[in-house]
């Protein structure tokens, strides 16, 4: 027995290869930045010595480990759709990020979405990470979860300098950070969407997911 998945027809096989190529390319791009910084700091440490450059090398290594963890979590974010409350995932992600940025949660009533639990948790954490750690470097991140008929909406806003982002609809990795791109893939797999939308001068990442049917 081979461990390889059955890919079906040729078109499906080609699509799967293209998807894998894109995913690996994005992962490579994500890893190359801390790797670049690590090489630079290593040279500086060799040239000048001192603990500062070595501390930076460690920081780079931790960043690479974080990316590897994200890649692993994404690989595990599979399973059957189930009723998943995004609020819990948002609270958990906000707790981890609060040291770096102010996060305002406006969660209201629970509105469960129809996604695999691991995928839902990954999606919410990735969106918050993507916004808080993005080039816009916001000082405050408002997070809201609302319901619409048959839908659950997660909205994560940019507060502060928002010039680093602009409205994006397509799932183009070059337009989104690694975290947001992976979150967009999860949303799409669940029958939803992720986009960066403009509201006046403000931008927000908006995720639209199918609501779980009431029990």
């Amino acid at each position: 027995m081979s461990g390889r998945p059955d890919l079906g027809g040729d078109a499906q096989r080609q699509a799967a290869i293209a998807g894998a190529r894109l995913a690996l390319s994005c992962l490579g791009h994500e890893l190359v930045s801390p790797l670049q910084a690590m090489f630079t700091y290593l040279r500086l440490a060799e040239r000048d010595g001192g603990p500062d450059a070595l501390a930076k090398v460690r920081l780079c290594a931790e960043r690479m480990r974080g990316i590897v963890d994200v890649a692993r979590d994404f690989a595990r974010a599979d399973g059957e759709p189930q009723a998943f409350d995004l609020s819990l995932a948002a609270e958990s992600a906000a707790t981890r990020l609060r040291d770096a940025v102010e996060i305002d949660l406006a969660l209201g009533e629970p509105h469960p979405a129809a996604v695999p639990a691991a995928a839902g948790a990954f999606l919410v954490a990735a969106v918050l990470r993507g916004v808080a750690g993005g080039a816009a470097a916001p000082r405050r991140v408002p997070v809201a979860i609302d319901a619409a008929p048959g839908r659950v909406l997660l909205r994560v806003g940019f507060d502060g300098a928002v010039d680093g982002a602009r409205p994006v609809d397509a799932l183009a990795p070059s337009r989104l950070s690694f975290d947001l791109w992976l979150a967009a893939l999860i949303a799409e797999a669940a029958g939803g969407t992720l986009r960066v939308a403009a509201h006046g001068d403000e931008l927000a990442v908006e995720v639209d997911l199918p609501a779980a049917e009431a029990p």
Binding site: S33, L35, Q36, T40, S174, S177
Partner: protein
């Protein structure tokens, strides 16, 4: 308007990369890091950069788009692309958009980055050197060198040397043809700015409606016909010297802009709301009476004081004694080379004529006279008949009113008399065809006495001897 270190813009959305490159480069360069490409664009619109290192793929902004905007704002800035996603197609696109170099991450040794930057800067330096060498060649050419042993020229050279290292504006005042641009070029060639551009502009030669655009540049659509944006001469002279000739002819509205530019060290192009810093030393020149222009409200007094931090007054050629002979010989060598003819020398008679003429057009007129003579002279010696007629019939110092200089330039009676005698004898020889007997007859002076006078005053002794021989033959 002070000079600065090489300014490097670094744009990468990853803070780790940004910080690490800054750490590697800041010892050598003035670094300006940006995570946000739009903020980087705004920076480039208001601040000058030399080299930009930009990531190609950043969320929110395509690196190629950023590259194009940088080149649009600062065409002289060099851009190096550093990307984690390299492909031939991308490299081609980036090169077409104006990138000079293309590196793929990870760059293992930041030294390689420094080498690339140095290579880019070296290219810029070579271009600047080329311009500077051309300036030096022009400045040191025989027709433009600050030639002369006279006291006014010694004082001038000392003053130019003293002012060369200063960054302050200089106002050069002198009659037409005295070499105002040459002095400006010499100031530039002797200064720390000699490797950067020397840009000369004759303000009187530019239409009033265009002078603002020429000096300060304009944005696309700033006025009818402005199809593209245009960099002004202030920016073209960045790091070097801008020579504003005929400054007295600058219109009033431009005087206001000039004053602001000199005060702020910034230029704002026509149609733009953004000012850009420029590092330019301004050297202005005029042959008009700016004091009178200020009294008549044709020239701003505040601009005058700003421009004339240092004043250099150039002596007219008629006050430079025997410099005229030195200059004539230099110009003769130059003209002979240019005409592709053998070396020539000046006859004593010609030297005497050159000494006695008043030179209202100064060195420029002398250059024209020498060119004229070289064209007419087939032999090795320039003789009096090779000179243009106006040299003999034109204005003389003795014809001028005393307040205009000339007659009383030599306040000592003896030197004034000798000056007159030289002119008289040179003219006498010319009309006598260098025949001493004929000259004696015309002048009513005994031939022996005339020959002694010619020897004493150094006027055409050979011609005198020839005249005597001719008589004897």
């Amino acid at each position: 308007m002070n000079g600065s270190r090489t300014r490097i813009l670094i744009v990468d959305d990853d803070p780790l990369v940004l910080e690490s490159w800054q750490a590697a480069l800041r010892e050598r360069y003035d670094t300006h890091p940006f995570r946000n490409p739009l903020e980087a664009e705004r920076f480039v619109e208001r601040e000058r950069i030399d080299v930009a290192l930009i990531d190609l793929q950043m969320p929110g902004r395509d690196g190629i788009e950023l590259l194009r905007n940088i080149k649009r704002a600062q065409p002289d800035a060099e851009v190096v692309i550093v990307t984690g996603h390299a492909s031939i197609a991308m490299a081609v696109e980036a090169t077409r958009a104006g990138a000079l170099d293309f590196l793929t991450k990870p760059v293992e040794d930041p030294g390689a980055l420094v080498l690339r930057i140095e290579s880019v800067l070296e290219r810029r330096r070579l271009v600047a050197d080329n311009i500077a060498l051309r300036n030096v060649v022009n400045a040191l050419g025989p027709e433009t060198l600050l030639v002369g042993d006279s006291e006014p020229m010694k004082r001038l050279r000392a003053l130019v040397n003293r002012l060369a290292d200063s960054q302050a504006p200089v106002l050069i005042i002198g009659e037409s043809g005295t070499g105002k641009e040459l002095v400006a070029r010499t100031l530039h060639a002797s200064s720390p700015r000699r490797r950067r551009p020397f840009v000369a502009v004759n303000c009187a030669a530019i239409a009033e409606s265009l002078i603002d655009s020429e000096l300060f540049g304009h944005e696309r659509g700033a006025f009818t016909g402005a199809m593209t944006s245009h960099k002004g001469l202030f920016e073209a002279a960045h790091g070097g010297v801008l020579f504003l000739d005929e400054i007295g002819d600058v219109p009033a509205s431009t005087q206001v802009r000039l004053l602001r530019t000199l005060q702020e060290g910034e230029v704002r192009s026509v149609g733009s709301t953004i000012s850009r810093t420029v590092d330019v030393r301004v050297v202005a020149a005029t042959n008009v009476d700016l004091e009178r222009a200020m009294d008549d409200s044709r020239f701003r007094r505040d601009l005058y004081f700003r421009l004339s931090t240092f004043r250099i007054e150039l002596p007219p050629l008629r006050q430079r004694g025997d410099d005229v002979v030195l200059l004539a010989r230099r110009l003769l060598d130059r003209a002979a080379v240019r005409a592709g003819v053998t070396e020539k020398r000046l006859s004593d008679e010609v030297i005497a004529v050159l000494r006695t003429y008043d030179w209202p057009g100064n060195v420029r007129e002398l250059g024209n006279v020498i060119e004229y003579a070289v064209t007419l002279c087939d032999g090795d010696v320039i003789e009096a008949p090779h000179l243009p007629a106006n040299i003999f019939t034109g204005r003389r110092a003795s014809d001028q009113p005393a307040e205009a200089g000339g007659l009383l330039d030599d306040m000592v009676y003896r030197s004034a008399r000798e000056r007159f005698e030289r002119r008289y004898l040179a003219e006498l020889l010319r009309v006598s065809g260098s025949n001493l007997s004929e000259a004696a007859r015309r002048s009513g002076v005994d031939r022996s006495n005339l020959r002694r006078m010619l020897r004493r005053l150094g006027v055409g002794p050979d011609a005198g001897e020839r005249g005597e021989d001719d008589d004897d033959s």
